[in-house]
């Protein structure tokens, strides 16, 4: 882009030179007049006039008035010299960047040359004659048109908008400039020719026009700012993702202040800041060091930082020799955002309203960020709810199945006894009654489990602490198991140093029995070890089996309700499918922890580790909800489904 602008500049200088030299003019004219007109060109360069027509603001300059005056008094070379030097003075005074300065000077050079050539073609005697008027008007028109076309050309390059559209917009300005400025110039010349001080009579009128123009400029600038702010705000209202929102906000802030770069930092989840920087190369994340540096220089209000005030960590991210406007949003609001726009240093006169605009936009940005956060939160909550609903449906189906299976056996046995009556042998009848009783007991056990799980989840389960001797409890379980199964697979080991625990014995026994039954179910052969040892603050029980073990990814999942890695085993083993979930919940009630892992050391099997503290948990600790882990990592209170 810069290269193309340089091309335009060169074209102007070379073209202007060629035209001037071709005209064979060598004299500058009276040196005093040249200096005088140079100063006049410089002065009018500082006072752009703005005119509002049908909501459009047209910037007109009275440079053409000076031009008209000068062409009657100076030879073309003098006019061009005065115009170019005047423009140079203006540019130096406003500290324009070099490229911009070069462009302005070249453009003035080209335009002034064209104007003098047009004027020279008429060669009028004086400003009072109609030919003089025509020459003056056409010269002014040529100057304005050349300037306009050049500026439009460059703007087309810079802003990549349609040349034709921009010419249409600028045409009115050019016409007004040519007519008004040239007429003013002529009027001054005619007045001066009759009485040298007469032009002063016009001074009050011109002053009034200038003042009015200033008001119009301010008003239109403010309106434009609000319009752009409004447009930017309306574009950011529907952002639903935080990353997207931050990027769009930075881009909007950059456009709003016509900066070269812009940064948007937003406080996300857990108070963590994240930020992006936007420039011509696109959007990229801002590193943490730069974010910290930016936050460090951010106060409660908007600040404008000169290059020397920009912290080093931030400088690395910014274009060199630039100024940074930093605007924070109100930190008391839910979304907290810091916007920073980087503008080239020493550029065109900074509009005092820019900081205010950025500050106002920071408020909108905070709202957009907080909306995005809210949206994300609602979405996560919805997903969680859908997940819960699915789990609930699965749970109901599983409970229904688990209740129906033993009930079918109970009812089937009894119906058979009644239907067949005496046709049934005494032995068969006894067998059926036994089966019905067994299945009835299974049903009762399932219902008890369901109620206990529900109570544990609700934290309404009765908790009756008493002193428990772990060794005795383990031996009781061993005896019970041997009596029920007729097998000697369970080995109990009590390590020395195990002390009395103050806990609910019934519930602890329930958990341990469940763990042992679980081991029997999933490891149909081989010894099962039930061991207890002291941890210093409590007792650790371990149940070790030689079964297939549990894959690492499922080691947390097995504690969920009705999760069975091998669906069929419940039926085969007569389990309820609630066992481990119940163990986990009852353990939480006892203030302990329950986990499972592989045996390690290359041995096949699973180790369930249950730790129970020596002291009973306080009622406060019990009231705390158990964290309920989900597949997606969202933590929530345990759902109520029973």
């Amino acid at each position: 882009m810069t290269r193309r602008v340089l091309l335009v500049i060169t074209l102007h200088l070379v073209g202007g030179m060629a035209l001037l030299l071709g005209g064979n003019h060598d004299a500058l004219g009276p040196i005093v007049a040249v200096i005088g007109f140079t100063l006049m060109f410089a002065v009018v360069g500082f006072i752009p006039l703005n005119l509002e027509l049908r909501q459009n603001t047209h910037t007109i300059t009275i440079t053409e008035a000076v031009l008209v005056a000068s062409v009657f008094h100076l030879p073309p070379t003098g006019v061009v010299a005065a115009a170019v030097t005047g423009e140079l003075l203006v540019c130096l005074a406003t500290r324009l960047r070099l490229l911009r300065l070069a462009f302005n000077v070249a453009q003035t050079f080209g335009a002034a040359t064209v104007a003098t050539l047009v004027f020279g073609a008429f060669d009028p005697i004086g400003p009072a004659s109609p030919l003089g008027w025509a020459a003056a008007l056409l010269a002014a028109a040529a100057f304005a048109t050349t300037s306009m076309l050049t500026v439009t050309w460059v703007l087309t390059l810079v802003e990549t908008s349609s040349f034709r559209k921009m010419v249409t917009v600028a045409a009115t300005s050019v016409t007004i400039t040519a007519l008004a400025s040239a007429a003013l110039g002529l009027a001054l010349l005619i007045l001066a020719s009759s009485a040298p001080a007469a032009p002063l009579l016009l001074a009050p009128v011109v002053a009034l026009v200038i003042l009015e123009s200033k008001r119009v400029t301010d008003a239109s600038a403010e309106r434009l700012r609000f319009q752009r702010l409004y447009e930017a705000s309306s574009r950011t209202a529907r952002l639903s993702r935080l990353e997207e929102a931050v990027a769009v906000l930075a881009s909007e802030a950059r456009d709003l202040l016509t900066g070269s770069q812009a940064i948007c930092c937003a406080k996300g989840e857990h108070g963590r800041w994240s930020g992006v920087i936007v420039d011509d190369d696109g959007t990229r994340p801002l590193d943490d060091g730069a974010i910290e540096a930016l936050l460090a220089v951010t106060g409660d209000t908007t600040v404008e930082l000169g290059w020397h005030q920009v912290p080093p960590a931030l400088r690395a991210a910014c274009a060199r020799e630039s100024e940074v406007v930093v605007a924070p949003s109100d930190p008391s609001n839910s979304g907290h955002v810091v916007l920073a726009v980087v503008a080239p240093h020493g550029g065109e006169k900074r509009n005092a309203g820019l900081a205010e605009v950025l500050s106002a936009f920071a408020g909108t940005a905070a709202l957009a960020v907080s909306n995005a956060a809210l949206y994300a939160e609602v979405e996560a909550a919805l997903r969680h709810q859908i997940d819960l609903n699915r789990q609930k449906a699965e749970f109901v189906a599983a409970v229904s199945h688990e209740l129906r299976t033993p009930l079918a056996s109970v009812l089937g046995s009894i119906q058979t006894i009644r239907r067949l009556g005496t046709r049934l042998s005494a032995e068969d009848e006894e067998q059926l009654l036994e089966a019905a009783l067994g299945q009835g007991a299974r049903l009762r056990r399932l219902i008890e489990d369901l109620l206990l799980v529900a109570a544990a989840e609700h934290r309404t389960a009765q908790y009756q602490p008493e002193l428990v001797e772990a060794g005795a409890l383990l031996r009781a379980i061993e005896e019970q198991f041997a009596a029920a199964s007729g097998e000697q697979r369970l080995a109990v080991v009590v390590e020395p140093g195990v002390e009395m625990i103050c806990t609910d014995e019934d519930k602890l026994q329930r958990v341990l029995t469940n763990l042992v039954e679980n081991a029997v179910k999933y490891a149909p052969v081989g010894p099962i070890e039930l061991r207890c040892a002291s941890t210093g603050t409590g007792t650790r029980f371990t149940v070790t089996d030689g079964g297939p073990g549990i894959p690492v990814q499922d080691q947390e999942r097995v504690f969920e309700r009705f999760v069975q890695l091998d669906q069929s085993s419940t039926r085969r083993q007569g389990g309820t499918g609630l066992g481990l979930h119940l163990c986990r919940n009852v353990t939480a009630l006892l203030g302990g922890s329950l986990t499972v892992q592989d045996r390690g050391d290359g041995l096949q099997g699973a180790v369930f580790e249950l730790t129970i503290p020596y002291l009973a948990p306080t009622s406060e600790e019990l009231a705390r909800p158990t964290p309920y882990r989900h597949h997606d990592g969202v933590r929530a209170a345990a759902p109520v489904v029973c």
């Binding site: 199945h401 129906r404 009930l407 056996s409 067949l420 046709r423 049934l424 059926l432 299945q439 069929s568």
Partner: protein, 143 residues
């Protein structure tokens, strides 16, 4: 065809050859209950505790009806049904699903799968007995 002739045909068929029922369930009590009742009614009863055994027995015994549990270890009821339908030896054997899966979707799926009937557990014993008798009579008529 009149009812009189139906009954006659059924009785004749029943007298000439005992009907064969294959009971497939992994639950021993259910197997026992169904066996006792069908044997008392004069059927020949074969039992299978899993899907693989069921498919084998269906080939060798060629029962008049299969009472098939859905949830079983290994091959489940649907797998057994598919393998029965896939083989020309067994594709004409009527199948009654007997399942504790009782939701509308499951029942619909059961009927969709090509089973002749879907009975949910807990079942009414008389209903199952009548259903089997009707299917046996029907197959005699068409066969």
């Amino acid at each position: 065809m009149s009812t009189q002739m139906d009954t006659t045909a059924f009785l004749e068929a029943a007298l000439s050859r005992p009907r064969r029922v294959l009971v497939v369930d992994d639950d021993a009590t259910i197997r026992r209950v169904l066996t006792l009742n069908f044997e008392a009614d004069g059927y020949e009863v074969s039992v299978a505790a899993d899907g693989e055994q069921a498919t084998e027995l269906a080939r060798s015994v060629h029962p008049d009806v299969v009472i098939l549990d859905v949830m079983m270890p290994g091959a489940d009821g649907y797998t057994v049904l598919r393998s029965l339908r896939a083989s020309p030896q067994t594709d004409d054997i009527p199948v009654i699903f007997l399942s504790a899966r009782a939701s509308d979707e499951e029942v619909f799926r059961g009927w969709q799968s090509g089973a002749d009937s879907y009975v949910t557990k807990p079942f009414e014993l008389e209903e199952v007995v009548r259903l089997v008798a009707r299917i046996c009579a029907g197959s005699e008529e068409t066969g």
